[in-house]
Symmetry: D3
Subunit: 228 residues, 6 copies
């Protein structure tokens, strides 16, 4: 059955704002190395970055009708998350749809398929993470669903989940864990700041993390190369 779920609960805006400055790699580590979408999902331009709440779209391959349906369900701060029901690299999304989404306050698109109008989207500053760039058109014939649980690029995404995306890829943080992961992300950042300062002065990770004993215990051997 094709269904549109309206008004799913979302991670609140204050939490989204608080995530500003947290990178994908940090959040992924902070939530126990989970939630990262496949590395085939790449931004269409360098420096792309987005934080938002997922509006999910499950649609038939090579058919983008449901993206129009989903646009109506979008609110400021949302990120559209789109996955076809079978693999496809066609271009489901371009600048017209981006114009529509921008006017509704949507901050980005994550699509396990292709997008087009890359030059225009770049100019508009509308970030997209996709597995392909393709001008290949799609039809508007068959229904799908909006705001249902979705597997996108190997991860389960629920409507309202927090999506964080940057040059390193895309990570999903389940809605009810968003605050906890935020705390852990910040802790991680603070810790890394200290480590970074020490590394920059030439101190070694071997010493900062106290790895030497464990390495020796595992049997690591050092041997001089001798004369070349």
């Amino acid at each position: 059955m094709s269904v549109v779920i309206t008004n799913p609960p979302r991670v609140p805006g204050a939490t989204l704002e608080a995530y500003s400055g947290i990178g994908v790699a940090t959040a992924h580590e902070a939530q126990g190395r989970t939630g990262l979408l496949a590395s085939t999902m790449r931004p269409i331009y360098a420096g792309a970055k987005a934080i938002g709440t997922a509006v999910t779209v499950s649609l038939p391959p090579c058919d983008n009708w449901m993206v129009h349906v989903a646009a109506e369900q979008c609110k400021p701060g949302d990120i559209l998350v789109v996955s076809p029901t079978s693999p496809s690299d066609a271009g489901y999304f371009g600048e017209l749809l981006a114009s529509s989404l921008i006017s509704r306050g949507v901050v980005g698109l994550v699509i396990e398929a292709g997008c087009r109008d890359v030059a225009e989207l770049t100019k508009m500053g509308f970030p997209v993470w996709s597995r392909a760039v393709s001008a290949q058109g799609t039809v508007k014939e068959t229904l799908g669903s909006v705001n249902v649980p979705l597997v996108c690029a190997g991860q389960l995404i629920q409507p309202g989940d927090l999506i964080l995306a940057d040059d390193d890829g895309v990570v999903v943080i389940p809605r009810l864990r968003a605050d906890a992961v935020l705390v852990l992300s910040r802790q991680r950042e603070v810790k890394e700041e200290g480590v970074r300062a020490r590394l920059q002065t030439g101190e070694l990770g071997l010493d900062i993390y106290g790895m030497r004993e464990a390495l020796a215990k595992k049997g690591l051997v050092y041997r001089d190369a001798g004369p070349g």
Copy 2:
């Protein structure tokens, strides 16, 4: 048999000029969603754009001898379209060949293989669409053909056909359809302009395109998420 066809009829320069401003996605749609090369064909730098007439080169894998032969057949406004007879990602093309082509007025290269000297080509502003970047050298041992019909990245290309290429990929427009597709592309642009303006004000595609009835007829159901 290896053959070089000289002076094939080409899309006239006036038509090429008239295509300025038409994007790959638009032209592909305008000619009925046909002619798009595989999405594995990517520009070597962002913002690359070219409009020209195809000089086709069929050559043996890992052998770029025929590119030199093809250079002589090029005229101002041409785009070289190269495809090896079996798959290859070697680097058939670099800045020396680009220098030669530029001096003859060639405006770009489309190659279903690899190219190299990407930094130099970028500086020279010579756009290339390829499926790989590779410094791997090629030999000059075996003949191929120039200006014969060619399958490149999944599309049939005839010498003299119009090639349009930008950040979204590469589309071929058959020579005798170039004027008709131009008209349809412009109509499409005019129509899209009107739609864009409405979308930017927040009007929905659902309403602009009048989709609501069709969706309901197909059985689309709306359901409120209820309390989270």
Copy 3:
């Protein structure tokens, strides 16, 4: 057995400096079209360039412990060359490790796997050639080896070998051949300069390289297209 070889002989710094200005494509050609790593190895930003001596790291898949071990073995002018013992696209390397390497004078990383913190690495100007970008974390559980002979992206790399990397990819030049290949690379550049000048004036490669006779002998046929 897991072993760290200390102080392997390296290509001397003077040779590294002398390579400045030589591109990957040129050096690859100069050493007889050998040594080029697979074209899947791409720079994380356009314009990346590095010349250095290889510190090799063989490590278990999805485990970056040995990168910390390797950092201690690095000297100014080195390039870290990392390959997991089975294929992996996880993110073994980020800006913290880059901070550490930079403080030791390391000039780049070549990794047949993934890296992360791409935005930060770009800002820091630390060039990385990898086959993937991924935020996926790795563990620190199992030993590997440092400065042992390594197959990376299809090429055998010995510690101390010269690594040259730019937008076209990565080439390895065996330590004891570095001076000879330098001479050959320069000869090639001088020769190409002459050819380039002639090509830019519109002279054809067919004539500069004297190819016409050989093409005719192989049986190349020219035929006019006739009326369209």
Copy 4:
């Protein structure tokens, strides 16, 4: 957190038996074209077939420790469903583990990674669907989880769900829908039997399904080729 959920509810054995004779393609269609794992999941031998209840295993890449943990949780009629937390083609599973699983009544393995001992597994008649065959060993260092919800090859699988696998691939049928999908699958089979008989006598799908009018309405044109 790493957790092993014991005794999840499972599709009952009677239902499993009732599915005997239903193919993957039929069940996938019957449940509305959902639930099919990616086509990269291939059986290790032709004619492989399995029906069972999922015991899910989420494990770190290149580490098969949790498969041993999962073995203890298996009951007769189960199928082990394994997915690493980041992509991997190593060989997590061989004939020793198969011996263990067979002794517990397990009827097959679905793994989004590699398996080995293919010749022995074939002789034993233990069917495996994997995305790779590889002898590459794995370690036993890091925990994962058993019987948690799992994304495997693009589909969400819950412990206890019904897994159907044959030469066409693997489909998951959610536990609570297993009976309903069975009814629909049988209806489909009955209907197909009638159609098959008519097709075998030369009657056309065009007529059996009454497609001619719809095709004409869409504008399909017939034109004779004329003289060759």
Copy 5:
């Protein structure tokens, strides 16, 4: 425009019969190493073999409506050749359609996409060459064309062309060249028979083909390994 071309001229049945015993590799060599479809096109079972005349089907991705339309155009000795207008691995074809085609005398299917019911097709002895096996269903919504020129797996195929397919892949032989290529294929077979007999007695290709002089001229050097 969607069009069905009826009764295209075909390679005559006598020629098809005469090709019996000619393999794909031989025919591909005999016509100058042209016409081979991409090596991604694999038979669904070992030992598959087919010789027939192409009925071509261009259809939208994930939509198999036109296969039903094409069935009506098939005559005994035909092979259906199917390619979607954008890349797809869904399962467009199964045993029901095979039943229909068999009843019309069709001898095989070549599809640049997926097929399903592999176990049944194997039992029926209906050979299929495809780039994927997938149970993923397709829709019946959008028109395509039958018996138009088609690019399939990188080769241009015209309706009525001769298609030869076996364990080595698929080759297309243009209709008007079928007789000439047959002669060349047989000559090749005769020649190879003689060579085979000599090779089996231990004579070397180096001597049979008289390669030694050419190798020496190119500068091949022999050097004894010396003591190990």
Copy 6:
């Protein structure tokens, strides 16, 4: 420089015979999980198996001239190991060359490229491990080398090394380690036999390998699913 090294030292025949019965997975484990070629290297028929000494062939892409040169260097018990200098899937090898190799006592082929005449090779029982099957022909124009160190499918192979290949893939065992790895392989087999017997009776790996304590220490938690 192109060179043929004659009479490299080889693993002695007695050692080859002693390896009979040892599988690829076992030998790979026995030598510390090293030496396994990429899992893209697949046998052309199920049940293929070969043990032999490497004659290595480095050749230009899409050029099989050096295979003929290499044939002369082969002795009974050898396996030809072929790798082009840049990636290629063309068909370098077919039944004629197999006839030649068989007459010289060669027991198999490992090629990081394509082979053809798969049906005939299967009938002849000549096993081939390749990364593709392709009828695509190659030329005989450019030299390469025989019996030089070679990187094939990611592993360094020296002439005379032991090659073991079966359904699980291909492993190389350095010549001077062949006896030591044999001993370790047998020890491993003996140990596995004991484990297998216990597993078959239903005993768990958890207990046989004594894993429970380590798992608990790492923090593995068991939790009952509760009512469904």
